[in-house]
């Protein structure tokens, strides 16, 4: 990472590549990143149909090692890392004492210890949280690596063409493999097949260039957001925050209640709500023209709710959203858009997986 002399957003090691590819650079949580390279809709469809790549080097990589690493993570993460086989990964949440979400993350269990990947915007907060709850027999260290997500039905094929053998055929989803200094995980944020690769910066630049030459489309933050929303995946800061419970955020499945004796932070607060959260996070499809957006009020037959994330779905050619609604809400509802009531339908996410639309449009 290079920081410019005067105060300005930080740059990842791939900054020059983005500019060379026509990236429209914006400030994202203090990082200069491309929102698109010309058309976010084209980049979105490239990922759904073939292969696209994202520079996600701004994300925070924290290695947790030592005899107490497992016990520490079983205390701060609401999912249970003890479930993992070596090389396995899980998705989960860090909760505060009142059961609110501090961040969502992926944890990999490696022979050397654990690797946590948390958000860019929450870096300082999570590192301070780790320091506060650290146990004596463990260390944690933030790593400066390049991280590239290559996603789409053709992604792994394209990667293996430029780096033969990089992604073994037997690598399963939520599993990782070490290739020299690279960690390759079959994970992603798009609802398509693909991998996320963590590697040293100079090798990251050459991998990006080789993938570009092999026809993988650079994809920016705009496409990243429309892809993840179609896939029904949450964005911290929009769908999740410290005042929202995981049980009202469609990630109740990531809470490992068993074993009952595991006293993770936030457990006591969640137990009170278990099975009876008044709200749920679910999906909306707008029947009319227009775009659903964060903060719009939703009126349902079961009471009011609010949109947490909304956008245009290129795959479905209409607007979709995630919304926090009363638990019993279903069927048709009204959304207030720029002063007018518009008709929307409540659907269970995900909207799209592996290129296919899963919800009924009519």
């Amino acid at each position: 990472m290079t920081t410019p002399q005067n105060a300005g957003p930080a740059r990842t090691p791939l900054y020059d590549q983005h500019v060379a590819a026509g990236g429209k650079m914006v400030d994202f949580s203090g990082w200069s990143l491309p929102v698109n390279y010309g058309s976010q809709i084209e980049e979105h469809m490239a990922v759904r149909r073939a292969a696209g790549m994202f520079d996600v080097s701004h994300m925070t990589i924290i290695d947790v090692q030592g005899a107490d690493a497992e016990s520490f993570l079983r205390h701060v993460v609401a999912n249970d890392v003890a479930k993992l086989d070596e090389w396995g990964a899980l998705y989960g949440a860090l909760l505060n004492a009142t059961g609110g979400v501090l961040d969502d993350l992926i944890v990999y269990f490696l022979p050397t210890g654990y690797r946590c990947v948390v958000n860019a915007a929450t870096r300082d907060k999570v590192l301070a949280w780790f320091a506060e709850h650290a146990q004596p027999g463990m260390t944690f260290e933030q790593r400066e690596l390049v991280m590239i997500a290559v996603q789409g039905p053709a992604a792994i094929g394209k990667l293996n063409e430029v780096r033969p053998g990089l992604v073994p055929a037997e690598l399963k989803p939520f599993q990782a493999v070490q290739q020299a200094q690279w960690l390759v995980g079959r994970t992603g944020y798009t609802g398509e097949d693909g991998v996320e690769i963590m590697l040293p910066p100079t090798e990251g630049v050459s991998l990006w260039q080789d993938l570009l030459a092999n026809g993988v489309a650079p994809a920016g933050l705009g496409a990243r957001d429309t892809l993840r929303l179609e896939a029904g995946l949450n964005l911290y800061g929009q769908d999740l925050d410290e005042n929202t419970s995981p049980l009202a955020s469609n990630i109740g499945w990531t809470i490992a209640w068993q074993p009952e004796e595991r006293n993770f932070i936030g457990r006591a607060a969640l137990e009170a709500e278990r099975g009876k959260s008044p709200m749920k996070l679910t999906g909306l499809v707008l029947a009319d023209k227009g775009i659903l957006r964060h903060g719009q009020i939703v009126t349902t037959t079961a009471g009011d709710g609010i949109i947490t994330s909304g956008t245009y779905s290129p795959t479905m050619a209409c607007s979709i959203a995630l919304a926090r609604l009363p638990r019993a809400a279903s069927g048709d509802c009204q959304v207030e858009i720029r002063g007018k009531q518009k008709l929307a339908r409540i659907v269970k996410p995900p909207f799209v997986r592996n290129g296919k639309v899963l919800v009924e449009l009519k």
Partner: protein, 131 residues
């Protein structure tokens, strides 16, 4: 650097107006505006026959990122709207001064065009916005 055709006049809010040979004024949004908006997905156009005053809201252009009101540069009555934008809103991004036009107005007073920004003045507005 975005494209700015010499025959267009501009509002600081990034709409352009072009006086055609038949005396009608065509209205659209600039290259700078379409680039800032990103992929356009919906356009709300005025009705033909609608009377609009200069500076009044005449429609909406919606991109994935944001919705933006369109203001009419001149007063008059709407004589036609670009219905092609209903199925192909991306024309606004691809050809903002040509096939991406929004509507045509029969102006009450062509003199109103003199009050608009010329290409150079509009370029300055864009340069200021970038800093």
């Amino acid at each position: 650097m975005s494209e700015i055709p010499t025959e267009c006049k501009f509002l600081a809010s990034h709409e352009w107006a072009r006086l055609e040979e038949d005396g009608m004024v065509t209205v659209g949004i600039s290259d700078y505006a379409q680039d800032a908006l990103g992929d356009v997905v919906f356009v709300e156009l005025p009705e033909t026959g609608q009377q609009i005053a200069a500076g009044e809201e005449a429609g909406v252009v919606e991109s994935v990122k944001a919705a933006s009101d369109i203001y009419s540069p001149v007063s008059g009555s709407v004589v036609s709207v670009n219905t092609a934008l209903e199925d192909e809103p991306e024309k606004v991004n691809q050809d903002p001064f040509g096939e991406g036009w929004f509507f045509k107005i029969e102006p009450d007073d062509v003199g109103e065009l003199d009050e608009l920004l010329d290409g150079d003045a509009y370029q300055e507005v864009c340069d200021e916005e970038e800093h």
